[in-house]
């Protein structure tokens, strides 16, 4: 037995994150760790990685009790973790981040830069990741950062690797590579703990599964004895369906029209339109330009040519403020950097984009803010102490819900959701879909950027596909994964 955690407890101030965390991991197994948002998965894993100290319980490593007081202690045991929220040094390069804490030296404390760069480049090349060793991390998308975290962990960890939602921002190709990496680790006899909210991953990965609910381990079993439904039932504590089917509406008037939009060299001649009542998917690989398209529409980047009209009226959107005024909302993919002010209370975040709704003549009405916040905390089931709690103290999935709630205070006409379910648990995903559906039913048009093919097949009425900055096609809602991949991947025709 590699790792044996028994009745681990962890409190943050008055919040109990873990009541009784039990987990046993053997060498050579892939152990899935499941649970709803805020169940305590990340907290438990951070204890294993030496970032937090438990308040109670026992922690055995290869049968011996250990006490890890810093991440370096965990590293010394061969434990490495891919974090849910990127813990990288933004101003350093990809290569430096991969080797951080274990930089090859030329003696006298000097860093051997060439070796750092070359070894990182080799590591990236073996996995075919769309990264370059010399890039600065702050410029990377969440997916890019995730891949750097993965490189760093596989470089570091020898006996136990923890993946905390590694694929939540990755697309198909990279996800497959992550699976391959996990497979190799298992063959090498390492232990792997894998946290995910993507049900399609369960079957292809795990040997055993442990389910946490409200800080307690409620279930452990070999994968062969579980069904997806039984796992969900243990997670939620009641039977639920994870299958969402949307009843499409007859589309209404055209609300967003994008005409030959280009932004050198990221976007090429993109035209499409969204109608009231519609949810339109936007598929593509990492780097296909989906986020860039949203940014350009929302006035964050200036397109080189092309035009945008909202509700039939041509508008020149030069800043997010003008976008909001025109009736647009953008839920960005990177909640830590662009979606939330993590050091501020939940309530501040929720009312940020539509402050006027809770103010009178520029003066805040506290009671209104409080009731609006409570309404969305309830509606989206945000697990928190109170609206005054700092947003950064929430679990990853609950932070995502706050980032969404911010745009619900006042209904916009066009919603751009960039990876809206990133890090959200199965039950809550359905709630997010229902929220999007309600917006559409209330007369909005919704664009849903997603890298998760299963949800693209469930929710949108039709799907646009991008590849290398161009729209390569449009598919009906009930298409197949193969069809989407055909349009999204670098095909022969594209290079010919």
């Amino acid at each position: 037995m590699l790792l044996q955690l028994t009745q681990i407890e962890k409190r943050f101030g008055g919040v109990t994150a873990l009541r009784s965390g039990n987990l046993q991991v053997q060498a050579g197994e892939v152990h899935l760790l499941m649970g709803e948002n805020g169940a305590g998965k990340s907290t438990l894993m951070k204890i294993v990685a030496g970032l937090y100290q438990p308040d109670g319980g026992s922690f055995l490593w290869r049968g011996q009790p250990v006490r890890l007081t810093r991440p370096a202690d965990a590293s010394a045991l061969g434990i490495a973790m891919v974090h849910q929220e990127s813990l990288l040094a933004p101003h350093l390069t990809v290569a430096e981040n991969i080797f951080l804490g274990a930089l090859p030296s030329r003696g006298f404390g000097l860093v051997d830069r060439r070796r750092v760069h070359d070894e990182a480049a080799r590591l990236i090349a073996t996995h075919n990741f769309p990264l370059q060793a010399g890039w600065r991390v702050e410029r990377l998308s969440p997916a890019g950062k995730q891949l750097v975290e993965i490189c760093r962990a596989i470089h570091r960890g020898s006996s136990l690797l923890i993946f905390d939602e590694p694929t939540s921002s990755l697309s198909e190709a990279e996800t497959r590579e992550v699976f391959r990496i996990v497979g190799t680790l298992r063959e090498r006899g390492a232990g792997v703990i894998y946290i995910t909210h993507r049900l399609d991953e369960l079957r292809s990965l795990g040997d055993r599964v442990t389910v946490l609910r409200d800080g307690e381990t409620v279930h452990t079993a070999p994968m062969t004895e579980c069904t997806t439904e039984s796992i969900i039932q243990h997670m939620v504590g009641r039977p639920v369906t994870a299958i969402y089917r949307r009843e499409p509406l007859p589309p209404g008037e055209e609300l967003l029209r994008v005409d030959r939009l280009s932004l050198d060299p990221l976007l090429k001649n993109i035209s499409f339109s969204l109608r009231a009542g519609e949810i339109v998917g936007l598929a593509g690989l990492i780097g296909a330009g989906r986020t860039e398209l949203c940014r350009a529409i929302f006035g964050l980047d200036r397109p080189t040519s092309g035009s945008v009209s909202v509700a039939g009226r041509g508008v020149a959107i030069r800043s997010p403020r003008e976008a909001v005024a025109a009736g647009l909302a953008l839920i960005p993919e990177d909640r830590q950097h662009t979606g939330l002010a993590t050091a501020l209370p939940i309530a501040y975040n929720i009312t940020l984009a539509h402050f006027d709704e809770v103010a009178r003549m520029g003066f805040l009405r506290r009671a209104a803010e409080e009731s609006v916040s409570r309404r969305f905390i309830q509606q989206l089931r945000i697990k928190c102490e109170s609206p005054r709690q700092l947003a950064g103290r929430l679990s990853g999935g609950n932070q995502q819900k706050v980032a969404i709630a911010k745009w619900l205070v006042k209904q916009a006409r066009v919603f751009l959701f960039d990876e809206p379910t990133r890090g959200i648990d199965v039950g809550a995903k359905v709630e997010v879909f229902e929220t999007m559906d309600a917006l559409a039913r209330a007369g909005a048009a919704v664009l849903m950027v997603s890298s998760e093919l299963p949800e693209l097949l469930q929710v949108p009425d039709r799907i646009l596909v991008m590849r290398q900055g161009s729209l390569t096609g449009e598919l009906p809602g009930r298409t197949t994964q193969e069809e989407i991949m055909r349009l999204a991947a670098f095909s022969q025709e594209a290079s010919a």
Binding site: F12, P320, R321, H337, T338, L340, A341, Y348, A353, L364
Partner: protein, 306 residues
Amino acid sequence: MIQRLLPFLTLIALFAGLCIASPHFLTTTNLSSVVRQTAVINIMALGMTMIIIAGGIDLSVGSILAMGGLLGSMAMERGLPIIPSVLAGVLTGLICGFLNGLMTTQLRINPFIVTLGTLGIYRGVALMISNGLPVHNLPAGFSYLGEGAIAGIPFVWFLLVVCAAAVHILLEHTKHGRFAFAIGSNPDAALYAGIPTSFHTVTVYTIGGALTGLAGMIEASRLMTGQPTAGQGYELQAIAAVVIGGGSLRGGEGTVIGTLVGAFIMGLLANGSDLLGISPYLQQAIIGAVIILAVAVDELRKRKLG
């Protein structure tokens, strides 16, 4: 909770300690003088609180104070009545602050660098305008601003209370204040939420400048001179007041009450050292140590909460 109240408790302990240690402390004259001495730093620190909350910093406040005091005094010397002259001093500060804000947002230069630059520029301009000479010929009535009293309470005390209340309301109850917190906490998230970040950033520096201009006029009134060399080193005291009061140089954190407490802690330390005959050299070291201590305690509190 205890730790959040720590600056406050420190202030009370300091006050009580000084009452016991020196018979000259708890007298109207002494307390009035403490209030008068700290009012200048206090009013500057109020503006600094807003700037720091919005994720900025203003190192040029000492020079702005000199500019405001000098130009206001020169206006009076040339015959402008007192109240318009005081307003001229405030306006001077306002313009200096506005320029700081404009440069950080439009040239996208780190405010530390911009205001390090304007610290030199404003000081240089003040010295050039005045030829380096102080302005002495001020109307006697002007001394009321810094030295006057209503029913025995220093006039500046009322000014301070009004400014503090205004800044508090601005920060905690208005859109502008909320946006300042958001910009300081995460400028990108604020931008993505459709907040006109540049506008609000410039506003914060402008208000800070105006308050500093007022502080400059108070300083000039207390000395009955407009000095181009006034206010040197005040920026550090203003920043220290904010930080002791729980403000964070990372932005997004700070309160008016905290800043006032911070400024009074420093004021009492200075006053107490004078009364007890502690050398002014040691005084500086004590204040320095208090700053480090205050921040260390604050960080500890945050770490404990994870």
